[in-house]
Amino acid sequence: MTSLRLQVNGQPVVTDIQPNTLLLDLLRGPLGLTGTHCGCDTGQCGACTVLLDDMAVKSCTLLALQAQDRHVATVEGLADATGKRHPLQEAFMACHGLQCGFCTPGILMAACGLLKSVAQPSEAQIVDALEGNLCRCTGYVNIVTAVQQAALAMAPSGGSR
């Protein structure tokens, strides 16, 4: 067992884990954050995407120990402290950016990572940021629209919303 200290969704976590524990398994197991999904176990589908210090990473191909002293954000932490949904969550609902919802947490986090570095991304930048996320239901049509709408809503002016 190895000692691990990190922040998850703003909360400090101190735990002992097997060194070979994947970040995904730490989140879904001991921490009970089952919003992060496992779709392919080989880093290709992106359903397990979380933020590691604001960068989108695939938690199925990362050891939990690689998050030592760092900050992990998952879909459960997207809403604010009062439970108010993140503009991305609102936009995905408004635009029908999800159907079965299994890939959605990963896509939300990948998009969230993008918006943290590029507040008003171009369509090409959105496509580039979501290239590692598979969705079998929507055809991605409404996903890109939803990210655009969320970016507008998050603009200082509040966008058109």
């Binding site: 609902m93 079965c100 299994f102 079998r136 049509v141």
Partner: protein
Amino acid sequence: MNAPLEVGRFGSGKTVRRIEDPTLVAGKGQFTDDLNRLGQAHLIVLRSPHAHARIAAVDVSGARALPGVLAAYSGADLVAAGVKPIAAAIPFPRPDGSPAASAQRHALALDRVRYVGEAVAAVVGVSRDAALAGIDAVRVEYEELPAVVDAVSAMAPGAPVLCDAAPDNIAAEMRHGDAAATDAAFARAAHRVALDLVNQRIAPSPIEPRVVLAEMEGDRLIVTLSSQMPTSVRDGLVATLAQLTPAQVRVRVGDVGGGFGMKTGIYPEDIVVAHAARSLRRPVKWCAQRLEEFSASVHGRDVLSHAEMALAANGQVLALRVRSAANVGGYATATGVLIPLLVGPWVTTSIYDIPIISLHLTAVMSNVTPVGAYRGAGRPEAIYIVERLFDAAARKMGVDPSELRRRNMIKPAQMPYTNPMAQVYDCGEFEKILDKGLALANWRGFASRRAQSKLRGKLRGRGIATFLEWTGGNTLVENASVKVLPEGIIELTSATQAMGQGIATSYAQLAVDVFGVGIDCIRVLQGDTDRANGFGSAGSRSLFTGGGAVHVASQRTVEHAKQLAGEALEAAASDIEYRAGRFNVVGTDLGIGLFELAAKQSAAQISMDGTARAGGPSWPNACHICEVEVDPDTGQVDVVGYASVNDIGRVISPQIVRGQVEGGAVQGIGQALCEQVVYDKESGQLLSASFMDYALPRVDGYRGFKTEFDTSIPCRTNVLGAKGVGELGTIGATPAVVNAVIDALAEAGLGRAAEKLQMPLTPMVVWRALNGEFDSVRMP
């Protein structure tokens, strides 16, 4: 607080926020793998590394001796425990008239394996790691046998035989139509075209892998899994596990991360996990890895066809002749055989008035993963054939492909129309849909768009598919239960199954229409065989069957509640009117709220069931038009335009049906351009077993769909007037895209040779075609 306004906002025909979404976007969905039980054990399956081998011995004793291993099973262990084979009742004959054939399939293979990935042994451990260590300790002695992986090779003399009852590997065969009349029509035809068509093998690939969690509650077996058909899973468990009655099993389904037909019916792993939980009397969970999904979940399509069309001088189609071989995999199943031998043929003549057909169809076993349903299931294969033939005929005759289709379309005055497969279309205005499609796609303006593409060095092509599809799954009766609860909730229960398609929202909208309450009051309960049983969700049936039942049950509930309101208000029921959650005595201010009335009942609820009986399948139809640009230097195909006009009758949830058509179209584009399950011809190894090797469409594909719905032609055979929509986009997209690429290449100088292209149209395939190279495929 204005109730009628609420109805206006949330009832049918309106775009509403899906009731499923708040939970899903919060990451609070309940997918099966999100559930964990106290004392839960983990099961791992050992799978065959060989495409075809005799199992000389399986020794699980090494696994059993390991710490943390709770049980280890071979196929023989399951048989000894009374687990029966998985029955495959296939209602078709073989060519010699004998019954359909398939090797007997056991949940864990007994003495022979017939495809890579077939389950051979299973180990249950206190943890996943313990079970994995156990798997390493299982010894299996295989004697490899020669393997065959395609239908034509499997039928050839001397091919490896999978099942003694079928020395030619033919599981079943059907002939439809009139062969002699077809021959005569071809003899007198002014034009004849013939195509060899490969409808390649597809991995359905929902992003949620299959997961099964089985546990005991007293003497009852509770199985929670990701499935489209909970009742069918329950019945499959009862049929295979020893001494188990339907009453002793409860199958539950939580959120389902995509189905697409792949999650219909029982899988071997369901049986093994349930058996383990019963014998160990503790919760057991199995989660498929993606590799297992590729090798051991059903595949779709895989049909080779030689197809011919005979036409009169004026372009009237006189007859169709098709010879097909469907590769149903290592074990033939009822679904795997039904799809190519009957479901596809039902729509072979599509929306066209084609009087004579001759179909000769075989279902062939080979050493690959069994085939089951995949979005469209038979209709995409059939529509691909007829739509490719129309383009080939139009090219040969020098006629506009939309014009040739128009000349052959069934006219509204011919409705109800009986096609050569005795299927009855209740309604359809195909020419009107075509005209709207041509306008939406600006069909006439294509020449200038092609010229502009040429200036950019690109070859532009245009493809059309006008088509219909059969929906309903041949199960047209559905029930629903309604419960009005005092806490302000109206609960709808249905045996149809949500899998991401938004059916709960559509049902809620239908209930809002009747009850006139806000959509927040509606709760939809599915996925529990203790609450409702039925066929489940497949074949684009749920809305027009289950939704009809919701409508009927809601109306019956209001009528029943009127009686109760009459009693409560001491008035005749005929004097009671219901509006927006409230009963009033007409002409007075005397009244009672719906939920208040429920609270007054002795059962503290008002409940009523309802049944809807559709009079036939619904026949959604559409015109899909695609434009592509081909890069002649790389062979890269880009979809650059996609317009569709869809007749799905009455629309309940506009945003949802648009999502179904466009998301479905992307799946169809995936088959046209990139997806393909590949087996090594010699070894039978599965080469496309990860998302690195199997190319699903990604976000950089086409997203600019122009999608319209014509709601003016309601279905006449169901209470809602709705037609199924779940599979329409997938069926239309594949031929529209392929026809567009062939058009581009034909125009680029290949002419009719471009018709030799076979899916998927990868850059390599297209580039080679531009250089005159085509893969030759052996046809049946």
